[in-house]
């Protein structure tokens, strides 16, 4: 169920009405039931699979809790993590694995079509379907298991709260990837809060505008360019790359806004996942603002266990590169995603290298000069924003294209200043306009609570005006309704 459908509207109305009508101790059960229904609306067999995975993880948690020795606890922790990774590997990465074997060996037996035929003949299934939200819930499960193992979660696992934590439908499909500290204590007692209700309404409206009005309209002009970059001229290729930066931000952050808004309406606060990422002044800064819950997960469960920055400079750069390459792989089972992650890892390593240059008197004089002249510091800040955005855009070419041929074609079209084989062009002004709006939304994220600056009595009126405006904008600008990009993860 997409959030932007009638079906979801009816579903959530029912959830909301019953939730606040029930006594406090029954609310979590209702959330659990409706979350399972939400997932089952996508697929009933996979709803069983999902609940089964959560049950399996809970079983391992209980074994860890009852373990008498550290080594027993370690065994169960490893079993839990391995089970989750096997589950993820099978559904998400098996075809990539086959493809790699096929590319290396050239043997047809490793071809996707060969495997699918075999699968169809033996099981009746055409192909291995990617379960909805598998990447998100796998990471959330692993985070909980590892945190419990590390002793960061003191209390014994409570089944109901654990299931609700993983299955909670607003954040299920596209995050944020939650940690126990984000959410579990809130589940002890969910109480009404007027400010949360107001914030919830505002975030849902904002999310709708970002997702339906901006992101879905950005898709329209750029799809044809990404489908066939060589047909289009240089400006169209550049516009398409910019357009995708609009789409991915507004789509993902819009969805997150709606997820957080729905959570707030149910009295629950979900963590922020975006804080003005396009205003980042370095790649390092970017990853503290873009998909924050993923980058902190990568830091805590891959980068730090690998050694982080504790094993010397070279290992630090290697750990960064490995972590972000794996982060790229998380996004999709394709070489392009891996290269996207690798590119970001390298950029972070290079930045780290530059920042680690020993201080010199010239550098000190420069820093002094910047400190005394705000304009210069401001200039450096804007230069940093431009630099970071350009790195992000370069990454977009890998992220969005379906294969490496298209990636090189697109780079070729951008740097060759060509008209393209078919001299085709797209509506560039629309894209440039959407980029400006996107930067406005980024700036707005630096003022997350601006709505509370409005006096109480006027606040609902303000939200009502935004609501009517949203309704008119949705009607005016909503195209036929595109799927969320991050659904595919």
């Amino acid at each position: 169920m997409l959030f932007t459908t009638i079906l979801f509207l009816v579903f959530f109305l029912l959830v909301y009405l019953v939730f606040w009508s029930l006594p406090k101790d029954k609310r979590l059960i209702w959330i659990l039931i409706t979350s399972i229904i939400f997932y089952a609306a996508w697929s009933i067999p996979f709803a069983f699979h999902f609940v089964g995975m959560v049950t399996l993880n809970y079983f391992f948690l209980r074994r860890m809790h009852l373990a008498r020795t550290r080594s027993q606890k370690t065994i169960y922790m490893r079993l839990a993590v391995i089970s989750n990774l096997i589950n993820l590997f099978f559904f998400k990465y098996f075809y990539l694995f086959l493809r790699a074997l096929h590319d290396i060996s050239g043997l047809e037996i490793f071809g996707k079509d060969y495997f699918n035929n075999y699968l169809s003949q033996t099981t009746g299934y055409d192909y291995i379907l990617l379960p909805l939200a598998i990447s998100f819930y796998t990471f959330q499960l692993i985070a909980y298991i590892v945190d419990y193992y590390r002793g960061n979660i003191e209390k014994a696992p409570d089944a109901l709260r654990f299931f609700v934590f993983i299955l909670f439908f607003p954040q299920l499909i596209a995050g944020p990837i939650m940690r126990h500290s984000d959410f579990m204590t809130q589940l002890l007692s969910v109480t009404p809060d007027e400010k949360k209700t107001q914030k919830g309404m505002y975030l849902i409206l904002l999310g709708l505008i970002k997702k339906v009005v901006i992101a879905d309209n950005a898709i329209v002009p750029i799809t044809s360019v990404f489908a066939d970059p060589s047909s289009f001229d240089t400006i169209s290729n550049v516009a398409a790359i910019l357009g995708f930066s609009v789409q991915v931000y507004c789509d993902f952050s819009g969805y997150t806004d709606m997820a957080r808004g729905l959570g707030f309406l149910l009295g629950l606060k979900l963590p922020r996942n975006f804080i003005a990422p396009y205003l980042a002044t370095s790649c390092r800064d970017l990853w503290t603002r873009w998909h924050i819950t993923l980058s902190t997960w990568l830091r805590d469960y891959i980068y730090i266990p690998l050694g982080g920055s504790r094993r010397g400079q070279v290992m630090t750069y290697l750990n960064l590169t490995i972590t972000f390459t794996l982060g790229g792989l998380w996004h999709g089972a394709n070489y392009t995603y891996i290269l996207w992650g690798f590119m970001h890892g390298i950029a972070l390593a290079i930045e780290r290298l530059i920042w680690s240059v020993p201080s010199t008197s010239s550098l000190d004089r420069l820093k002094d000069f910047l400190g005394r002249h705000n304009l210069a510091a401001g200039g450096f800040k804007y230069a940093g924003i431009v630099y970071t955005y350009l790195i992000f855009l370069a990454g977009v070419v890998f992220f969005r294209n379906q294969d490496m041929d298209h990636v090189w074609e697109m780079f070729g079209q951008v740097f060759r200043f060509t008209n393209g084989t078919e001299a085709a062009s797209i509506h560039n002004n629309l894209v440039f306009g959407l980029v400006a709006i996107t930067f406005f939304f980024n700036w707005l994220q630096t003022k997350p609570d601006w709505i509370f600056l409005i006096p109480d009595r006027l606040r609902y009126i303000c939200i009502a005006v935004i609501g009517v405006l949203t309704m008119l904008l949705l009607g005016r600008y909503s195209p036929s309704g595109a799927e969320y990009i991050y659904f595919q993860f």
Binding site: L13, S21, I44, D126, A227, D403, G467, G475, R476, S478
Partner: protein
């Protein structure tokens, strides 16, 4: 109960009701007419099909008593220019009703066939326009706004449609839940169905000299011109049974035609995938025709050769042959064999028989070429029927 102690919890519900209520303004006829852009006549054409249906019902029995049969054309705007009187040359005892509509799709064809057969008005033959575009996901969007009825959508929605890699294997009743959802959104939310554009409202109020239904040129408000177009469409319905034969032709420069071809192809053919909904309706319509023993002529519309080059490509981006043509023909062959139906398929893009090659854009053949198109389609088909 927290709603009582904390009545602010009711505010989101009131808020939703308020938005819903304000939205209903768009359904008020006067508001709707001032919002809807004066050039947007597609809703009128869809509306005219309802009137055509009433006309068919009215005529059917009287014509049958005179040993006259009815034929049916189901297509998009590309089939709107067939002339029922010209078709009589090949089928003298048949009146052909043309239910084609802009941006039609197979789902739309099934809808009308279903309604016509439910009223026991069995056509003597059906002409179906089918190509990759008609079988795409976006082809259904216009009908979700301006056609179908709630009963049809409810009874033809597959609740738990399996996700198949190969859309050509899909079976079911028709619509996906997403299609149905979009339909209900359009029916329930006025400003979604009739988007508010200030520029359109302004332009609708402008006055210009325009042709009126009586053939004279008058100065009228542009919004009124659209409202007045309906009587003209009704007249055409009455005389030409839904078709709009004409000799309209605007010559585009070869440069503009090439640009149109590239943009259209990259939008509709790149990385093509047939829509499961359309595949399901295609199977259902053919099975229904077979069950009723109604002969069917499937024609692939003749498109601009510059555009057709994209359909002939076989690379990673464009491979319509593999993604549409082959599975489509295999499906037709399978159904033909299973049902032993009277079916003919004609693709004039491949036979290169058409001499008239005037196109108003990549997809639309000029009305001037329709007599020749009719000749090519009905010469063999009419022999099969007789």
């Amino acid at each position: 109960m927290d709603f009582i102690k904390n009545n602010f919890l009711l505010i989101p519900l009131f808020f939703l009701l308020m938005i819903f209520a304000v939205d209903k303004i768009a359904f008020i006829p006067k508001v709707k007419n001032s919002i809807m852009y004066w050039k947007k006549i597609e809703p009128l054409l869809y509306e005219s099909r309802e009137k055509l249906f009433v006309q068919l019902q009215r005529d059917y029995d009287s014509k049958r008593s005179q040993n006259q049969k009815s034929g049916l054309i189901l297509g998009t705007s590309r089939s709107g220019e067939f002339d029922t009187d010209y078709i009589k040359k090949y089928m003298p005892d048949t009146y052909t009703y043309n239910f084609s509509a802009p941006f039609g799709s197979v789902a739309y064809y099934y809808y009308w066939l279903d309604r016509i057969l439910e009223k026991n008005m069995k056509p003597a033959y059906v002409l179906l326009e089918i190509d990759a575009v008609v079988m795409s996901a976006q082809a259904i969007n216009y009908q979700l706004s301006y056609s179908f009825d709630m009963g049809f959508v409810i009874t033809h929605t597959d609740i738990n449609r399996p996700r198949l890699k190969n859309p050509w294997k899909q079976t079911g009743k028709g619509f996906s839940v997403a299609d149905a959802d979009k339909y209900y959104l359009k029916q329930l939310f006025g400003f979604y169905k009739y988007p508010l554009k200030l520029g359109n409202i302004r332009e609708n109020q402008e006055k210009k000299f325009m042709p009126s239904p009586d053939g004279r040129i008058r100065e009228i408000r542009l919004g009124e011109w659209r409202e007045n177009a309906m009587p003209f469409i009704d007249q055409v319905n009455e005389k030409k049974l839904g078709g709009i034969p004409n000799f309209f032709f605007v010559k585009l420069s070869s440069e503009d035609m090439k640009k149109d071809a590239v943009n259209t192809a990259s939008r509709n053919l790149a990385h093509y995938r047939a829509a499961p909904t359309q595949v399901v309706f295609l199977k259902n319509i053919l099975n229904r025709l077979a069950h009723e023993n109604i002969p069917v002529l499937i024609y692939v519309p003749y498109v601009n050769p510059i555009y057709y080059k994209f359909e002939k490509r076989t690379d990673k981006v464009y491979d319509i042959n593999k993604r549409f043509r082959q599975p489509f023909l295999a499906l037709l062959k399978e159904l033909h064999k299973k049902n032993k139906m009277k079916m003919q398929i004609i693709d004039l893009n491949r036979t290169k028989k058409m001499e008239c090659r005037k196109f108003t854009d990549s997809y639309h053949l000029s009305g001037q070429c329709f007599p020749e198109l009719t000749d090519h389609l009905f010469t063999e088909f009419s022999k099969q029927l007789n």
